[in-house]
Amino acid sequence: MCETCGCSLPTDNKKSLDIDADQNHAVIKKIMSSNDKTAEHNRHKLNKHGIFCINIMSSPGGGKTKLLEASIAELKKLYRIAVIEGDLETENDAERIRAQGVEAIQITTGSACHLDAHHVHQALHQLNLDTLDLIFIENVGNLVCPAAFDLGQHANIALLSVTEGDDKPLKYPVMFQKIHGLVISKIELLDYFDDFNMERALDNFRKLANQSPVWPLSAKTGRGMEAWLDWLVDQRTERKMLLNPQLETSE
């Protein structure tokens, strides 16, 4: 039998498939509404606890975990931090983060190539939000799908490593259009990858109507890390004041 064309259906039923204008039902329904609703719920929860949450995305091997290790080493003096790690398999990244002395929740997605709001919701339940100031979400290494899913974060950051080439933004426009800041990682390798042109990378990023800050840095040598960390601190302070103005003025 042919399942898709309906040729084996009894004739009575076939007749009822005739197109009828009366059968049209105009609706406007966001296809992502189930994810978006959970994302809003997550954001509300984070706001209630005064937590600033950042979603970090890049290709596999773009340097997300390394950037987190280096950032946490500096920021843990200021903030109480946790990391939500998304990977298809293994706890490796979470263990690297735990070695920094902060809590890490590993989400293994199995075959899913991105995190969605439901994953993050489950992870938030495993954390004691009263004891946190900052949450990093390290998304699954992928420049395509993660762009389509709101997780409840306050800012999206992408990494572009110099080994990937300066045309990456134009190759993955949906991702690079959406982000609130771009880290150009592994600049210690610029000497060896001389076909990566920083100016061209920046120009390609701006062609996507994105005026967000760009931080060329090396998490390995620490070069350029300061500007990125300053931005994080500023954003977190701004968010905190927005959520709880009295608290900030009395501090």
């Binding site: 039998m1 064309c5 309906g6 009575d12 197109i19 059968q23 609706v27 296809i31 395509v144 389509a148």
Partner: protein
């Protein structure tokens, strides 16, 4: 959702009637990140599996479908809409089609150094559902219930 839409338009839907969906229309923006061809193929797979496995496997036997079924010939119509940008320096809006994106990306068509912002283009909406009620006893779902215990799975 389908039931709610039906009732809001036609008043009521008797308890012994199922709803059969025959067509869905989606509106996708250029920047939705969804590929039309892939989505159409995925929809065929989902439709196939719905008819092949839904009513007959033990796991799905108990599952709620709220009396809403998809016709085996359900059409997926995809309306693609272009994006639009605003150029702060020109002070005007420009549409961005697939072709113009390949030329200028999201920069101003007059000068790529101008500062622009994306105004629309990430829509992912369901805008029309074609459906009709059928008596639960003669419903299309009954028609395939007995026929589809086969394990044929053409897409795997």
């Amino acid at each position: 959702m389908a039931r709610r839409e039906y009732v809001s338009r036609h008043g009521n839907l008797p308890i012994d009637q199922n709803l059969v969906v025959t067509s869905l229309t989606l509106r996708l923006g250029l920047f939705s990140g969804v590929d039309k061809g892939l989505l159409k193929r995925a929809f065929q797979v989902a439709l196939h599996d719905f008819h092949c496995y839904w009513p007959s496997t033990p796991e799905t036997q108990q599952a709620e479908c709220d009396g809403v079924y998809f016709s085996p010939t359900t059409q997926l119509i995809i309306e693609q809409v272009s994006a639009s940008i605003y150029c702060r320096e020109c002070g005007s809006h420009y549409p961005v089609s697939q072709q113009s994106f390949q030329r200028h990306y999201l920069s101003c068509p007059n000068n790529h150094r101008h500062i622009t912002q994306l105004i629309s283009g990430d829509e992912m909406l369901l805008i029309n559902m074609q459906m009709h009620p059928e008596s639960a006893s003669t419903c299309i779902s009954e028609a395939f219930k007995n026929n589809n215990t086969q394990e044929g799975n053409s897409h795997v």
